[in-house]
Every structure is written in structure tokens, then in C-alpha cells.
């Protein structure tokens, strides 16, 4: 009754990592050349771009004035392009074992930034002639935060050997429940708890089907996402449309940390955030500590690497997996509430694949919470930069710009696999009899 088996990876000969490193190096160099030619030399000699550093929320404005940084568009972008080319050259020649995709992510961000500088050049076609760097960082931090929640959820589940591909569904469920609770109680703590519960329940369902009945985890996960997606869209029409008071605008309030929030640029980004952001920082530390410094974490990793060996020393493999998948689901559920609280309300389908990008961030971060943060920052910046480029009159269709984060994700995943090693028992069913 084998319905499906996913991924026949053993038996697939892949392109040698060193050859792939060179391909990536060439891609980076080409992006660099393109930047120099189009964004650099393509702009008028006298054109300049202004960088401003205004915090969006003026209550945390620095006590002293932070001026505008005016850059010559042409030469700034030429320098940026040369930096990209030299990173490409360095990778091509040295073929470093680690950090290739990190460099690629950096180049992608630099490219989008160069595009932004070029789009905001003055004299130029755009109405908006400045780039507010602080606002960009704040906006990206909101996306990155959601991705961190998602990839932490992935780390929790996959370190114990269960692939949680339903993160997207847990985001949607959390966003829905979070919006209803936040609208009725006006309390984001309750909303977060509700999101954690719904995420945990979905995690429990995934764990139940894949641990007790040994179903294909990826298939169950994908079907769960489809189910939650349509259920949320059903409930949206059936409940939220007739009772709009259940889905009112609910932006989580910013909690400014005294003094620290007044630091220019950094302050508004790190110390004037919603409670979800601080919770995310705490969770990164907690999960990291729990996985790598505690006895329980050792059990989890043992279960994820070699369940039979773990069982032989008395670890209850199935229980550890249940706990981790439920906790992971809860984290993703809170991530969904955080996303809702940064968007203001629930809309069907508005997570647009963030749950899967979070999975890619988890792979990028080598199944480590700290790595997931770095990866989420890169993906968050790329998502947000392509999103705000819409407000500048770029001669490229906004729909083409929207593709960038997804293409970057695909490239990163393609460049990484084989270079990183997932937990050995990741996604494999465990027969405990």
C-alpha cells in the first residue's frame, strides 16, 4: 500500500560541491558586473541618492539630530558592484568550505540595496528621492522576526527527527486565532497564547499522524497546510465577514526600552519593538540553550540522529518527538500571531509562503537557532527590500520584483544541499516495537 515515498536522494549523484561553489562565484560576479554597468555607470554622473535615518516612530527620535547622508549614485553603486565582484572572485579562487551561501545572501542584499539607491536617485524618475535606512531595517526586522519563529519551530521539530512542513499552516492558524482573540480582548498576550495553542494542536495532529501511524510526514504536512488554508478562508467568509469586529485592525504596540531606544538607527530597530520581537529574542536563546546545553537537548539530538541508539539507552523516542513537535508547532503559532500583529489583521493567504521560506532559513542556518537568525535576517531583508521597491518608480514591473525573495530562496537551497547535513533520522518513521 505504498502510496508515496518522497525523495530518492541516496543514489543521486550530485554536482560536486566545489564545482557548485564556482557556479555560485560566477553568479555573484555577474551580479556585480551588472550592478556596476547598470546601476553605477547607468546613472547620470551628477545624480545623488540620499540616505535618511529617521525612526518611523518619532517618540524614539534621537536627542541629537541625525542628518542625511548624500551619496553619488554612480560611484557608490560602482563600489558596491566591485565589492560583489571581489566576493565572487574570492569564492572562486579560495573555494571556502563554509559561508559561501552567506556571502551569496550578502551579495543579494547588496544588489537589492544598489537597486534601491539607483531607483531613489535624484534627478531621476522617482517621486520619492530618499531611502530611509532606519525604516528599511525596522520593516525587515518584522519579516525576519516571523521567519525566526518559523525556523525555530523547524529546528525544534527536525532536531528530534520530524519534518514539520506545516509551518505555513501553523502561521495561518496562529494569525487567524490571534486576530480573533486580539480583536475581542485587545490583549496580545492572550492572542499569543491562543496562537501557541492552535499551533501546538496542529503540531500534535502532525505528530499523531506521523508518529503513531507512521504516515509520510511531508505529505501530512502539506495536506495540513492545504486544509488550514481553506479552513481559514472558509471561516473568514463565514465568521469574520459577517462579524468584522472579530478581525479589527490590531497592530501590536511598540514597547520602547528607555534610553536604548534613542540610539540612532540601532535603537528603533532593536529597542523599540513589539513584545513579539523581544519574545523571539528570548526564544532564540532558550531554544539554543535547551538544545545544546541541557540533558533534554542531548536526548532530542540523539533521537534526531539515531533513534534506535537513543532508545537503547532508555530514551522514550516517541515521547521526545511528541513534545518537540508540539512545542515547535506552538512556536510557529506564536509566529503567526506576530505576523498578524505586524500586518494589523487576518487575511486569507497573506502569509504567501513565509512558512516555507522559514524552512529554507532553517536549512541555511544548519539546523541551529543562531544560524536561523542570520538566515532570517537575510531573507527578511530580501523580502522587505523587494516589497518597498514598489514605492519607487523602478522601470521593472513590481511583479518581477516580487519574484526576487523566492528566487533567492531557491538559489540558496540549491547551493546549500549537500553542503549542510540534516539530522540523520530527519523525516524517517520510527518503529518502536
Amino acid at each position: 500500500m505504498t502510496v508515496v515515498s518522497t525523495t530518492p536522494a541516496s543514489g543521486v549523484a550530485m554536482l560536486a560541491p566545489s564545482a557548485r561553489t564556482r557556479v555560485i562565484a560566477v553568479i555573484m560576479a555577474v551580479i556585480g558586473v551588472f550592478t556596476v554597468l547598470v546601476f553605477g555607470l547607468g546613472s547620470v554622473a551628477g545624480a545623488h541618492s540620499s540616505l535618511t535615518f529617521n525612526p518611523v516612530n518619532l517618540s524614539v527620535a534621537a536627542p541629537w539630530h541625525v542628518g542625511t547622508l548624500t551619496l553619488l549614485t554612480r560611484w557608490t553603486n560602482v563600489v558596491l558592484g566591485i565589492v560583489m565582484m571581489s566576493i565572487g572572485a574570492e569564492v572562486f579562487i579560495r573555494k571556502p568550505r563554509r559561508g559561501v551561501m552567506l556571502r551569496f545572501g550578502g551579495v543579494a542584499i547588496l544588489f537589492l540595496f544598489a537597486l534601491l539607491l539607483w531607483a531613489a536617485r535624484s534627478p531621476g524618475p522617482s517621486q520619492v528621492s530618499f531611502v530611509n535606512l532606519t525604516a528599511i531595517l525596522i520593516g525587515s526586522s518584522a519579516v525576519a522576526m516571523v521567519l525566526v519563529f518559523g525556523s525555530l519551530s523547524g529546528v525544534m521539530c527536525e532536531r528530534s527527527g520530524v519534518v514539520n512542513i506545516a509551518i505555513e499552516g501553523q502561521f495561518v492558524g496562529g494569525a487567524f486565532v490571534g486576530s480573533v482573540i486580539a480583536s475581542t480582548t485587545h490583549n496580545f498576550i492572550y492572542a499569543a497564547m491562543g496562537g501557541a495553542v492552535i499551533g501546538g494542536v496542529l503540531g500534535l495532529l502532525l505528530a499523531f499522524l506521523s508518529l503513531r501511524y507512521l504516515s509520510d510526514q511531508i505529505i501530512v504536512g502539506v495536506v495540513l497546510v492545504t486544509m488550514i488554508g481553506s479552513l481559514s478562508s472558509y471561516l473568514n467568509l463565514q465568521l469574520l465577514t459577517p462579524f468584522p469586529q472579530l478581525n479589527t485592525g490590531n497592530l501590536a504596540p511598540n514597547l520602547a526600552i528607555p534610553l536604548l531606544s534613542k540610539i540612532p538607527v540601532i535603537g528603533p530597530v532593536f529597542f523599540n519593538q513589539t513584545g513579539f520581537f523581544y519574545l523571539m529574542l528570548v526564544l532564540v536563546g532558550t531554544v539554543s540553550f535547551a538544545l545544546f546545553k541541557t540533558r533534554y537537548g542531548l536526548h532530542v539530538r540523539a533521537v534526531g540522529e539515531h533513534p534506535q541508539a537513543a532508545a537503547s539507552v532508555g530514551i522514550n523516542v516517541v515521547r521526545v518527538r511528541y513534545i518537540n513537535v508540539v512545542l515547535g508547532g506552538a512556536i510557529a503559532g506564536v509566529g503567526g500571531v506576530a505576523f498578524m500583529a505586524s500586518q494589523g489583521q487576518f487575511q486569507p493567504g497573506y502569509t504567501s509562503g513565509l512558512g516555507y521560506i522559514a524552512l529554507a532559513a532553517m536549512i541555511f542556518g544548519r539546523w541551529r537557532p543562531s544560524g536561523a537568525v542570520v538566515a532570517s535576517v537575510i531573507f527578511g531583508l530580501s523580502v522587505y527590500l523587494s516589497y518597498i521597491l514598489v514605492s519607487y518608480q523602478v522601470p521593472v514591473s513590481i511583479y518581477i520584483l516580487q519574484m526576487f525573495p523566492y528566487i533567492i530562496t531557491i538559489t540558496v537551497v540549491a547551493g546549500l544541499i549537500g553542503r549542510v547535513r540534516p539530522p540523520a533520522a530527519d523525516g524517517l518513521p520510527y518503529h518502536h516495537d
Binding site: 500500500m1 549523484a13 509520510d216 495540513l224 524552512l359 511583479y399 537551497v413
Partner: protein, 418 residues
């Protein structure tokens, strides 16, 4: 001796019903899925909830609450059936008076209209599944196929004999182009197809919006996200003529051809054999000299090509153009195709039956939305629930106390990321 006699006599109906064979499990999964749907209707429909609340507030009888519940759930499922298969009253009217056949046949015609592209896309997903590949990107591939086909269908002009095949071929080519990306990436870098295809789905949606809003392809004189209309020579014409009012069309024959092709491909062709061996046991496939890299690329070309064909069949048989909402949300046949393939156990015949069922659920869901106000998305929830139960046969057997036969105790082989 007694054993021999027992095997010779035909088992009783009761024994067969509780046997836990795949078909029985599927039927019970259907029942469970419909129960989940009923539960959702009950817990989310205000009138039903009010009736139950009346039990405690105004001490009304439980019978009333039960009646309201059954009325609502019954009305939903009844309209789902009459809207997708046949309305008995209208059928009787047509038989007795000889009039109103169009109205009577419309539901089944609509179901067949939606089933045709679904069968095609699901066959592609099923072939990929049989090779051990999870093609979640069928929707994106169908979108690109639809775009390519609609471009050929609307911007080139020639007689039907050439135009229709060329349009369909363009759809296949578009799907193949979209499918080649995850195939090549998986073959040469090992990138997991699940993430790559999902990300490509979003790329394709963005591309769709881009092309339907760009000058050569956008409907002239329109500011909206609508493409040019395909020439009549590129459309899949209704079977009973354009004036018949029934949308049932030649797409059905395309679907039948695809099913026959899939059967031949999987059961008779040597490439199909390589595919199935790779899916059953990748190491054995490699040891016996099958080029696994070529299989990976080819399976995505076949699967993507079929998805692309489904996209263009959908566009050429119903809307005759594509817009920004093409295959998005509940209309996304690429996503339904995954559930259909799982329900049909990836076999061509199973896929035909499941496609008809899920097309009926979708079409009936639309009728339900129109007459009872219960959103169409319920149909998609029921579909996913059914597939969740089908994917965990042991659960279904435990719920209905079916016997677990040794063959069905074999579980799915799950594998991780790389």
C-alpha cells in the same frame, strides 16, 4: 482442509465490507471527511449555534436544535449533490415532459468540465509520486502552461486543425519549462523539490500578473489583469455545440487520452518502468544501471508537461482567456491534483474516480455557496480531510474496527530532506 474450503467460498458481504482493503478504507475515509465537513458547518453556522444556545437560554426542546442542525447540514450536502450530479426533481420533470434537459444536465456537465483538467494534472502528480517525487509545483506549472497556451491561442491565427494542437502543445511546453527547474536543480544540486516547487509557484503567480498586465498579452483597451481572448480555433469547443448551454467539451477526450497514455507509460514503456523502479527503491534502480539523474529531470518534464496541459485545457475550455486570478486559491487545480493523486493511489484509474469526486465536490461546493451561503472553501477542507484519512489507513481501520490485513500493514516510506 477447512482452510482450502474457506478460500474457495466467496466471503460474505459483511466480511468484505470490514476487510480493510484499500477501496473500503477509501470509502470510509470519504465518510469521515464528510463528517468533518458536517462538524465544521455545525460549529460555524450562526443559525445552528443559535438553536443549540436556545437549549440553555429559552429551554427550547433538543429536538428543535437537532432539526435545525440536520436541516442545515442536509441542505448543504443536498445542494452539493444536486449542484454537481443531478437534481432528481428536475430530472423527473425532464423525463416526464421532455423539456428542461439543459438544466438537468448542467450539473453533471459542469463536473465533467472541471474534472478534465483535474484528471490531467493529477495524472502528472501521480506519475511523479510513483517515481518518489513530490511535485507540489503542479499549480505553478499549470499557470505557466496556461500562459504559454493562451499566448499561442490568442496571438497566433490559423485554422483549428493546426491551432488547437499547437495551443495544447504550447501548454505542455510551458509546464515542462516550469517543471525543468526543480528537476534540473534536484538532479544537479540535490535541492529538495518541495521547497523549490513551492517557491516557484509564487514566482509563477507573480509572472502571471506581470504578463496579463503587459502590453502584448493584455486584452487591448483594458486596464485590468485580463489577457487577450483565445481564437475560437484554439478553444476546446462544447461537445453539443456552443448554443447548447452545456460547457461539457472536448477537453474530456484530452483527459481520456492522457489517462491511456499514463497507463501505457507506467505499465508498458521502459521509461515508465525506470520511473517506478526509482520510486520503489532508488538504490536498486541505481545498481541496475538506471540513470537516476536523467530520471529526475524526465519525471519533472512529464509531470510538469501534464500540469501545463491541464492549465491550458482549463483555460481553453472554460474562460477562453486568463486573468490575474487564474488557478489561485480554491481554483488551484494543481493543489487539488495532489490530493486527487493521493486519493487515487497514483494509479490512472483511481485518479479518474477521485478527479470526478473532487470535481463534483468543487462544483457542488459552488452550488452550495450560491444557495445556502456556506463558503465554497468547505469543499477544499473536506477534500483535505479525506486525504488525511486516506494517508493514514491504520487510523481509519481503528475507527471502524476493520481488520488489518498483512499487506496493508506495510507503511509509507518517508524520507527527509536530502
Amino acid at each position: 482442509m477447512t482452510d482450502a474450503i474457506a478460500t474457495e467460498t466467496r466471503p460474505s458481504l459483511w466480511v468484505r465490507l470490514t476487510s480493510g482493503s484499500p477501496i473500503v478504507v477509501t470509502l470510509f475515509a470519504l465518510v469521515l471527511g464528510l463528517l468533518v465537513g458536517a462538524l465544521i458547518i455545525i460549529t460555524t453556522t450562526p443559525t445552528v449555534l443559535d438553536a443549540w444556545r436556545g437549549l440553555f437560554h429559552s429551554w427550547s426542546s433538543p429536538g428543535h436544535a437537532l432539526k435545525v442542525t440536520f436541516d442545515n447540514v442536509g441542505a448543504a450536502y443536498r445542494t452539493m449533490f444536486t449542484g454537481s450530479v443531478v437534481d432528481p426533481a428536475s430530472f423527473w420533470h425532464a423525463v416526464t415532459t421532455g423539456k428542461g434537459w439543459t438544466t438537468t444536465l448542467t450539473p453533471i456537465s459542469e463536473t465533467l468540465t472541471y474534472a478534465a483538467p483535474l484528471i490531467i494534472a493529477s495524472t502528472g502528480v501521480g506519475i511523479a509520486f510513483q517515481t518518489g517525487i513530490f511535485n507540489i509545483g503542479a499549480n505553478g506549472q499549470a499557470v505557466l502552461g496556461g500562459i504559454a497556451g493562451a499566448v499561442v491561442g490568442s496571438m497566433l491565427h490559423m485554422p483549428t486543425v493546426l491551432h488547437l494542437p499547437l495551443t495544447l502543445a504550447a501548454g505542455v511546453a510551458g509546464g515542462m519549462a516550469a517543471g525543468s527547474v526543480p528537476g534540473l536543480l534536484k538532479a544537479f544540486t540535490g535541492a529538495h523539490e518541495v521547497i523549490v516547487t513551492i517557491m516557484l509557484n509564487y514566482v509563477m503567480y507573480a509572472f502571471l500578473l506581470f504578463v496579463v498586465l503587459s502590453t502584448p498579452f493584455q486584452q487591448p483597451g483594458q486596464q485590468n489583469d485580463i489577457s487577450r481572448t483565445m481564437d475560437p480555433s484554439a478553444q476546446l469547443a462544447p461537445l453539443f455545440g456552443t448554443g447548447s448551454g452545456l460547457r461539457m467539451n472536448y477537453g474530456i477526450f484530452v483527459a481520456i487520452a492522457v489517462v491511456i497514455f499514463a497507463w501505457w507509460f507506467l505499465e508498458r514503456s521502459s521509461m515508465g518502468f525506470d520511473f517506478r523502479v526509482t520510486g520503489a527503491n532508488p538504490s536498486a534502480a541505481k545498481a541496475s544501471g538506471i540513470n537516476s539523474r536523467a530520471v529526475l529531470v524526465l519525471v519533472f518534464l512529464v509531470s510538469g508537461g501534464l500540469a501545463g496541459l491541464a492549465g491550458i485545457v482549463q483555460a481553453a475550455s472554460t474562460t477562453h482567456m486568463i486573468d490575474g486570478g487564474f488557478l489561485i486559491g480554491s481554483a488551484g487545480i494543481g493543489f487539488t491534483a495532489i490530493t486527487v493523486a493521493l486519493l487515487g493511489r497514483n494509479r490512472p484509474i483511481g485518479i479518474v474516480w477521485s478527479s470526478l469526486l473532487f470535481a463534483a465536490l468543487g462544483v457542488g461546493g459552488r452550488a452550495m455557496q450560491a444557495s445556502t451561503g456556506i463558503p465554497l472553501d468547505l469543499a477544499a477542507v473536506i477534500q483535505s480531510a479525506i486525504v488525511l484519512f486516506v494517508a493514514t489507513p491504520v487510523l481509519v481501520k481503528e475507527i471502524f474496527r476493520l481488520r488489518t490485513t498483512p499487506t496493508t500493514a506495510v507503511q509509507l516510506a518517508t524520507k527527509g530532506w536530502s
